[in-house]
Symmetry: C2
Subunit: 336 residues, 2 copies
């Protein structure tokens, strides 16, 4: 293995000079700078990450705690992960991927062994058991989601409450009086997952203010699950004319069901989906949707992390405003 001393020797300088050439932390004469660069190139020198971490107390690695469950598959999660890895690289950081499975212990492990400089935590729950552990860490932490008590940690997310309000308002303005909310799988609510509970809450409040009826049911991500969910919604609301879908996995199934019944969108049923735009566009009828801006959120999460690594003390909080894009899956209710 070629070390910094090898480079120094080859360039006829001291190791510290090589280090400074690399870090740019002190002025170097053009002449030596070139000689060092050549030596590095010629020897194929790469700084040893462990040695660097030991000497500098910086690893240039972020931990990303992601909900990798064996059962639930969520494409949106991939978008977050992709965005965060890509953005982290733009800031010269790598990403260590942790699952939820280890819980607070895993977080503690990578943080207190100094494997990472900072942590980004996805899929935060309202009363997340990991928050106390996170709050005591030396490293900066950014949560994706807004728990009830953030314990002074930075948070970023889409304003799901406002998103639900936007959806309900939009449908109400089209004349719908009974709206179904096709929710995420039941387990998501049982965990108190931040985004889902906030969306539900926002929807209920909006419905109350608008004086429309809103029925909500969790929905498993299968055809069967959707059928059951719809049945339940329709037994609660006899004149169901519109749905808000907070579960991109069942959009395809929803169209199958409607087609089997001979119903069309939006003539018989209006739909507002909360999902990434590509999912909304890939359906038989392009869906009116509220974008889940996973890429933007990931980028902001990384930005907040970097701010804190750069010395910023106070935690930041960012709630992105939702935007509804009308694509034609909303119309007036059939019986009007």
């Amino acid at each position: 293995m070629v070390s910094i001393s090898d480079v120094a020797r080859a360039a006829g300088v001291s190791p510290s000079t090589v280090s400074y050439v690399l870090s740019g932390k002190r002025p170097i004469s053009p002449a030596t700078s070139v000689r060092v660069a050549e030596a590095i190139e010629r020897l194929g020198y790469r700084p040893h990450a462990g040695a660097r971490a030991l000497a500098s107390s910086r690893t240039n690695v972020l931990a990303l705690v992601a909900p990798l469950r064996v059962d639930v598959v969520v494409p949106v999660i991939m978008q977050f992960v992709t965005s965060i890895v890509t953005c982290a690289r733009e800031h010269d950081h790598d990403v260590l991927l942790l699952t939820h499975d280890e819980g607070p212990a895993g977080i503690d492990r990578v943080a207190s062994s100094a494997m990472v400089d900072a942590l980004v935590v996805m899929d935060v729950a309202d009363e997340d058991p990991r928050i106390p552990a996170l709050a005591t860490l030396r490293q900066p932490v950014v949560l994706i989601g807004f728990p009830h008590h953030s314990a002074g940690l930075s948070c970023v997310d889409l304003d799901f409450r406002a998103a639900a309000r936007l959806a309900v308002d939009h449908l109400a303005e089209h004349g719908h009086r009974q709206i179904g909310l096709i929710g995420a799988p039941a387990a998501v609510y049982e965990r108190g997952t931040s985004y889902a509970t906030r969306l539900l809450d926002g929807g209920r409040r909006a419905a109350q203010e608008r004086r429309v009826e809103l029925a909500w049911r969790p929905c498993e991500p299968t055809y069967e699950g959707l059928v059951r969910c719809l049945d339940q919604l329709e037994s609660e609301l006899t004149e169901l004319t519109a749905v808000v879908v907070n579960n991109e996995a069942v959009l395809g199934a929803l169209f199958s069901v409607l087609q089997a019944r001979g119903q069309r969108v939006p003539d018989h049923l209006s739909i507002v989906a909360v999902c990434p735009p590509d999912v909304a566009l890939g359906q038989p009828v392009p869906l009116t949707s509220i974008d889940i801006p996973a890429h933007a959120l990931g980028a902001i999460a990384v930005e907040l992390v970097m701010n804190q690594l750069a010395g910023q003390r106070d935690p930041e909080t960012r709630l992105l405003a939702p935007k509804l894009t009308e694509r034609g899956s909303c119309g007036t209710p059939p019986h009007v």
Copy 2:
């Protein structure tokens, strides 16, 4: 930060003894063992990962190179990632996640800076440009996929050639003479992605041997894309009675299309899907499928990596035999 010397002092032993207690690399008397353990516990000591890496030349981190593209979303990839992270943890390793975007440079960076002990590379192409770089690394490498030239690297994958053969045989035995292959998105073939080209190849050979007609078209993962793909297949095969689907993203759309046409499965069209079992089960009609055993493959990849880290010299190669599960989406062709 509490270091190994602090623990040593607190326990009244030398730092090396603490190290040996932790590693178990030499016998320690029960008495000191307990004293050290107590000191560790009391002080909340955590070995510094960087220091450890520097001294031992081991990071206990694996690199996972995954196809995280902003455009394409594939749930199967999540299953691989989940499996690999989970299995790596069972072997006391963490996972550093890299995208394809950086190409060979990213691989070189993490490998030659000694950030990782080994690499697992997903989504390998037939002529993968990263293979030369991978072959020169000090660290063990395991590929998921079988490139044309593996350069002495370990490989693991489902036998997609056999999978296609299995599907074609199954349909041919039901009496189908014209079979459509709904492929992955075009970009996947343009890259020469190992699994897709092997499946296509196996399907063509099997069709030839069985004397049935096989038409293949790539398919974009949208409703529109599927419609176009089906049109093309049907214009090539006028008596198309069965399809093999190597694109789980369009299964939902496929049912929508059939329902719109008033066609049923398997009465009008037989389907064999190549996808994870949960996807096959979540459709309006449970699909006869050939399982993509992502979890098993991930586990094997990690196992191969660990074998090599344990000193095994020769690369290993594992091609998993496909298994077809009949769930009722295959029947006899309508006109028979």
